[in-house]
């Protein structure tokens, strides 16, 4: 049978990690169907139908699904799951929120946050903040799986023409209510998908000093990240946090500034292709994962770094 993937979107556009999840789903079974549940989300259905790896789109439109309240979304997914062997979604705050509800309703033990598909029932997933990789086999008949999006390449967006089938909404329990969402708006690339990430830690000493980080990020067209210590200290908002309990990033270049490198931070960035660490403490654990380490006072090094970057003319902007 086929695999059902739950699309993440904002009712007008697809969220990019859905494409990474589609790639992972296609490694489980080539017959990938995608459920688009939302309100006035026809555009999203059309967008998904163009993805060549997708064979069919299930489109369910109802105001009840506008804000993806898990109490409303899970019963729909649970019903749709009857026809499938696998139900999958991204392992981000979208998928993590509703998928365990679906798994519990189906009496399935969920496999969370996979980084590799070994076979349709066997997966690799990080445990202990990525300090160990577990290979696990699900013995449930049906499987609920969440996918770490940064471990899979995004699927091609165009060239396909999957059939769109409209499905009926199901009853909702009316036990929860969406009030508001405060999204941090930024001109910069998204942290999860940026090619370059510049992150600051407690070494920055204040929120104002994060300007040293954002100046470099603007020059490199990079996203801005932060350690949990910097977020806890109130230097920057939580959506910038990289780590075990924040976001996992895998950019081509990760620049860690004033970050000591606690286990939980390394869990979120150590798969990056090239890691640079700038820290005045030469013994800081961050240097153990850095390809290039610079032991220096960041308040001197960052302005110099920006000046050197300004001399280069090859940087994409």
């Amino acid at each position: 049978m086929s695999v059902l993937l739950i699309a993440e979107h904002d009712n007008s556009k697809l969220k990019p990690f859905t494409l990474n999840a589609i790639t992972a789903a296609s490694k489980i079974d080539s017959d990938v169907h995608v459920l688009v549940a939302g309100s006035n989300c026809e555009n999203v259905s059309n967008e998904i139908a163009n993805v060549p790896l997708v064979k069919k789109v299930l489109w369910c439109d109802s105001p009840n699904y506008q804000n993806y309240l898990p109490e409303n979304l899970a019963p729909l997914v649970t019903k749709a799951a009857e026809q499938y062997d696998h139900v999958v979604a991204s392992a981000n705050t979208f998928g993590k929120n509703f998928m365990p509800r679906v798994a519990a309703a189906l009496d399935i033990s969920q496999v969370s946050d996979i980084i590799k598909v070994s076979s349709p029932d066997t997966f690799v997933r990080p445990i202990y903040a990525g300090n160990a990789f577990a290979t696990v086999k699900s013995n449930d008949k049906k499987k609920c799986v969440t996918i770490r999006p940064t471990s899979f390449e995004p699927a091609e967006k165009t060239g396909g023409s999957a059939k769109i089938e409209k499905i009926e909404a199901v009853d909702v329990p009316n036990i929860s209510k969406f009030i508001k969402r405060e999204e941090t708006k930024s001109e910069r690339p998204e942290l999860g998908t940026a090619r370059v990430v510049v992150s600051g830690g407690r070494g920055l000493e204040s929120g104002e000093n994060f300007k040293l980080i954002t100046d470099i990020a603007d020059k490199l067209n990079a996203a801005v990240g932060a350690s949990r210590a910097a977020v806890d200290a109130g230097y920057i908002s939580n959506d910038h946090q990289v780590g075990q309990t924040g976001k996992v990033v895998v950019p081509d270049l990760y620049i860690a500034v004033g970050i000591s490198g606690a286990i939980q931070h390394l869990a979120g960035m150590k798969e990056s292709k090239i890691i640079v660490a700038i820290n005045k403490d030469g013994e800081a654990p961050i240097f153990s994962v850095a390809d290039y380490g610079l032991e220096a006072d960041l308040f001197k090094a960052l302005p110099e770094f920006l000046a050197e970057l300004n001399k280069l003319n090859t940087i994409q902007k």
Partner: protein, 249 residues
């Protein structure tokens, strides 16, 4: 109002994890164990709600071997009133843990269940949501602020895009994020008092549940190691290496 707060005993977050050579798991012998960090936030919030007068009783529960009682005692020292230890000598998946918690909820009838958003050992992030689904209760995951009202709770959640505010009817399950509060340390007198607080013991086997694990762990291995990097002398050398050697600029 009554709160049930679930705590898990895990390898301390500062311990360097060592994978066993035979691939069967990670070393846990003679390793420092602590309360799962976001579970500390769950206990703190429950106790704060009790101190505010909105909540009358806080019951701390842990599921696991006998040593899980240490984790419950810590919650009692922070301010929980009573402990429940559900004894289980082997690993139980989040699905099974949620089934056990459901049984206890049916017996104790709390208005809310608090727990950490995720355990830092198996990193599953499932138990709270599963429990909520089994009870047909609403859930608040990644909670960073709780405003408790009479029949509902207004919750601020940390999501990938920023913050989200929702309102959940009570009873509800609340899974706590690390910025919900600053967990306190237990004072010595409170640690002493906690030893006298009641602790109920239940054997998981006696609950009449099917707790068979569905996921088979085939092997556990170390992640691929990064090759050792180099230290550069100055910023100019760093930029030159990034441009000419790594070719990322």
């Amino acid at each position: 109002m009554k709160i049930l707060v679930a705590v898990k005993r895990v390898i301390d977050y500062n311990v360097q994890i060592r994978v066993k050579e035979d691939g069967s798991g990670v070393h846990t012998d003679n390793v420092k164990m602590s309360t799962n960090p976001p579970d500390d936030n769950a206990v703190e919030e429950s106790v704060k709600l009790k101190e505010s007068g909105k909540v009358k009783e806080v019951i701390a529960i842990s599921i696991g071997e006998d040593k899980a009682q240490e984790t419950i005692r810590k919650a009692l020292a922070i301010g929980a009133d009573k402990g429940i230890h559900v004894k289980a000598d082997s690993y139980i998946e989040p699905l099974g843990i949620a089934k056990i918690l459901k049984k206890i909820v049916e017996k104790e009838k709390p208005d809310m269940v608090f727990l950490g958003k995720q355990a830092i050992d198996d990193d599953c992030n499932q138990t709270g949501q599963m429990l909520a689904a089994m009870l047909n209760w609403p859930q608040a995951t990644f909670t960073s602020k709780v405003n408790l009202k009479d029949k509902s709770a207004e919750i601020i959640r940390e999501i990938d895009e920023g913050l989200e505010t929702i309102e959940v009817n009570l009873p509800a399950v609340v899974s706590c994020d690390l910025r919900l509060n600053e967990p306190r340390f237990a004072s010595l007198p409170n640690i002493m008092k906690a030893k006298k607080k009641p602790m109920e013991q239940i054997n998981a086997k006696d609950l009449g549940l099917d707790l068979t694990n569905r996921i088979q762990q085939i092997k556990v291995e170390e992640p691929p190691k990064r090759k050792a990097g180099i230290k550069v002398a100055n910023v100019a050398e760093l930029v030159s290496k990034l441009k000419n050697e790594a070719k990322v600029l």
